[in-house]
């Protein structure tokens, strides 16, 4: 042993007076800026879509109800609760979060003797790191686990469509549909908002699996008009889509159309298993062949009822055929959906008017129950001076006449009053007819509502302008200028607000600001009313209405007259998907009423 070996251990003594390299108090040491520590959640932004729970590979997250957070359209009312006995701080939950509400603080140390403390609801159970700005957030920019941009739909260009009624939207190819379906996180938030509560994540999953027969079965579970809805549904589902919070919502409507478009109608019975339906011997009369009547007929037919539809007009479809222009919904697609329903043994008597050709009492005698879904076909008038002039028309009447093949008295300059989808439909229809007749478009549509609150779908306004129609929102009509049999134009005044503080319709005007739109023809499109003059005598006496004149029905759409069920636009909506949902519920209600359900 050398002297060095004996002395060297003593050299360690020099460290006694040095500062230690370890940290005396590690509990106050801050972690790195982007360290992945305990969760934070902005519960006002969170919608409880549960995508965090779904992606967690450790099953560390539960979706739980929270006091004070209501379940409503677009928000499940649930919030994520994290179990730190399982969390591995990978932050996949943060990276997939559809609203960017979830993040991780850089707080990492926490001591408690009670293990249950390590399960908590971030953002609800207050923690000291809730205000900690550091930690892990979803990176800004193009970092997403799904594509936030929807697959673009190919459409006819304005110049190739503005003089014809050719369908504008071309529909997705298989490749496009698969890409679009792949964006869906299958949270199911949309299902509650769809009036028919369609199995939306399920049919999108069927597209991903390329099992389109299963897709069609899921569609028909809740909606017997998928070609129609796949084109013109008001797609309220898309307004609550979780992906829509930070990107484009999933094209739910176009994906539905994709499924329906893939199957020729002669395969439907095979796919849907409806080749042999046993009749139960009971009969139901259906008044009106719009969405609610067709839906009721379809679901009743599946249950074995013999249904007969009575339709006033020459063909089935109601507003879908006689209100919606062909460039949005081609007639052959209406026929495809309708003909399949008729193929199940549903009979239709067209050109038959209830009240004149056959009365409601007669239907009651001949059938076990009656469903009435006669819709809103009477245009409402603004009743400003001049509306009784012969060159003032109702939008719904003109749209119907176009389908019936009647000559439309198209003028060189036209003014449309209204800002809803019907107003856009008639504006774009007349613009096409002007283009054909005069080689140019000169049509103004004006609405009380300002641009941001126009009730029409945004794309309708955009496309109308692409087709050279002029949309001037925010004006109220005061008078139609006429000169004998000629109409000269429309006087308007600036509308400053449409609804009062309670949200009631109560327009206010600035009388100082006026304008004048020249035109030889005015079309009113400010809403439609119902024509229920076919309810007569005892039926009229016994039919209960509420204080605003609407027919009272129960949850099965049964009126105060037990054999009479009522649905569609005259009860709820107005739109196709509410009608479909009503008809379905009424079918279940009729089945209960007739003792079969």
């Amino acid at each position: 042993m050398s002297l060095k070996d004996i002395l060297s251990p003593f050299t360690a003594w020099k460290h006694v007076v040095k500062d230690p390299v370890t940290i005396k108090d590690p509990f106050t040491r801050e972690a790195a800026e982007r360290y992945r520590g305990f969760h934070k959640n902005d519960i006002e932004t969170c919608i409880g879509c549960g995508t965090c729970e779904d992606i967690c590979q450790n099953a560390a997250i539960d979706m739980v109800p929270v006091d004070g957070i209501e379940t409503r359209d677009g928000d499940s009312g649930l919030r994520p609760m994290v179990d730190y006995g399982r969390c591995c701080w990978c932050a996949l939950c943060v990276d997939v979060c559809t609203t960017n509400s979830l993040s991780l603080s850089n707080h990492y140390n926490w001591i408690d003797e009670d293990p249950d403390q390590f399960r908590y609801i971030p953002g609800v159970d207050k923690k000291e790191w809730d205000t900690n700005e550091k930690g892990w957030k979803k990176p800004e920019g193009n970092y997403e686990l799904y594509d936030i941009n929807r697959v673009k739909m190919e459409e006819q260009a304005p110049e190739s469509r503005d003089d014809s009624f050719i369908e504008i939207v071309k529909g997705y190819s298989k490749e496009q549909a698969l890409l679009e379906a792949d964006r869906c996180v299958a949270c199911g938030i949309c299902t509650a908002t769809c009036p028919a509560h369609m199995g939306i994540p399920e049919y999108i999953k069927a597209i991903r699996n390329d099992d389109l027969e299963e897709g069609l079965r899921i569609l028909y579970d809740t909606n017997p008009l998928p070609e129609i809805c796949g084109r013109i549904c008001t797609h309220k589902c898309e307004t609550v889509c979780s992906i829509g919070h930070k990107g484009d919502p999933i094209s739910i409507r176009w994906l539905k159309r994709y499924i329906a478009d893939q199957h020729p109608s002669d395969q439907y019975k095979e796919i849907l298993g409806t080749r042999d339906i046993e009749l139960n011997g009971k009969t139901v009369a259906i008044v009106g062949s719009g969405p609610s009547g067709l839906s009721a007929a379809y679901y009743l037919a599946l249950l074995g009822y013999k249904c007969t539809i009575y339709e006033k007009l020459p063909e089935a479809g109601g507003m879908m055929r006689y209100g919606i222009p062909e460039y949005r919904l081609p007639y052959d697609q209406i026929d495809k959906d309708v003909n399949y329903i008729l193929s199940l043994g549903v009979e239709i008597k067209t050109n038959t008017n209830i009240g004149t050709d056959i009365t409601l009492e007669e239907l009651q005698e001949q059938y076990d129950a009656v469903f009435a879904g006669t819709g809103l076909h009477m245009g409402r008038s603004t009743r400003v001076p001049g509306t009784d002039h012969q060159e003032v028309y109702q939008a719904v009447d003109l749209l119907r006449d176009v389908v019936l093949g009647k000559e439309i008295p198209v003028k060189e300059n036209i003014v449309v009053i209204g800002g809803g989808n019907v107003a856009m439909d008639i504006t774009r229809t007349l613009a096409r007819l002007q283009k054909v007749k005069f080689g140019k478009v000169s049509i103004i549509a004006t609405s009380l509502e300002s641009e941001d609150i126009m009730p029409a779908d945004r794309e309708e306004v955009v496309e109308a302008r692409e087709e050279n129609a002029t949309i001037i929102p925010g004006w109220g009509p005061t008078k139609i200028e006429t000169e004998g049999e000629h109409l000269k134009g429309l006087h308007v005044v600036k509308c400053t607000s449409v609804f009062d503080e309670e949200g009631r319709f109560n327009p206010k005007f600035d009388e100082e600001q006026i304008d004048y739109f020249k035109g030889e023809m005015v079309v009113e499109s400010i809403g439609q009313g119902m024509d229920i003059s076919y309810f007569k005598g005892d039926i009229k006496e016994n039919l209960k209405l509420d204080n605003r004149g609407r027919i009272i029905v129960n949850e099965n759409f049964q009126s105060s007259i037990d054999w009479l069920f009522v649905g569609g636009d005259i009860i709820q909506g107005p739109d196709v998907i509410h009608g479909i949902a009503n008809g379905h519920k009424a079918a279940i209600g009729i089945d209960k009423f007739l003792g079969e359900g």
Binding site: G48, R119, G188
Partner: protein, 176 residues
């Protein structure tokens, strides 16, 4: 870097070169060229330091990708040598004779991906998983969630709700 690339292009069959940054290049080579290429880079091009050896599972193409990341400490740049091997028969020539620590990386890859490196010292010894009897967990067909659900019991009192089902219960309980 340019002359280096020319040198190796004339000696090895290179599939592709990706210049990621001025100081980082990825070179894709066929399996039989991989170990000879990194030997050459170490011995003749100053890439004396092995930064890491890692793998990725390209399950759709039924292949694993190995990446040997080498560093030139003098000139301060990196080269990643990438090689695809079959997923079905996942074996690769060992490179532990070039750097001793490669054996540790290869032992890790054996355990986490199931890629074998015959002849690599201790390659079959457990690395960190201790008694693992399932699919190698870094393979993409390993279902992590199912494994955690099957292996670990949930803490008592845990309960979750499906958002769509919960919304139905709250918003339209009487509908079908």
């Amino acid at each position: 870097m340019k002359s280096l690339l020319n040198n190796i292009k004339s000696r090895f069959s290179i599939k592709d070169v990706t210049e990621q940054r001025s100081n980082l290049v990825f070179i894709d080579v066929a399996r039989e060229s991989a170990v000879p290429l990194i030997t050459y880079l170490r011995d003749y091009e100053g890439m004396t330091h092995l930064v890491l050896l890692t793998a990725a599972d390209w399950i759709e193409e039924n292949e694993f990708q190995l990446t040997y990341l080498l560093n030139n400490p003098e000139q301060k740049f990196d080269i990643g040598v990438r090689v695809r091997i079959s997923r079905e028969k996942a074996t690769m020539e060992t490179a532990h004779h070039l750097w001793e620590q490669v054996a540790t990386y290869q032992r890790e890859l054996k355990e986490m991906f199931g890629i074998d490196f015959p002849g690599s010292p201790g390659v079959d010894k457990p690395f960190i998983l201790e008694g693992w009897d399932d699919l190698p967990p870094y393979r993409r067909d390993f279902d992590t969630k199912k494994y955690s659900e099957d292996t670990y019991f949930p803490r008592p009192g845990r309960e979750s709700n499906d958002p769509a089902e919960y919304m139905k219960k709250k918003m339209y309980p009487n509908e079908k």
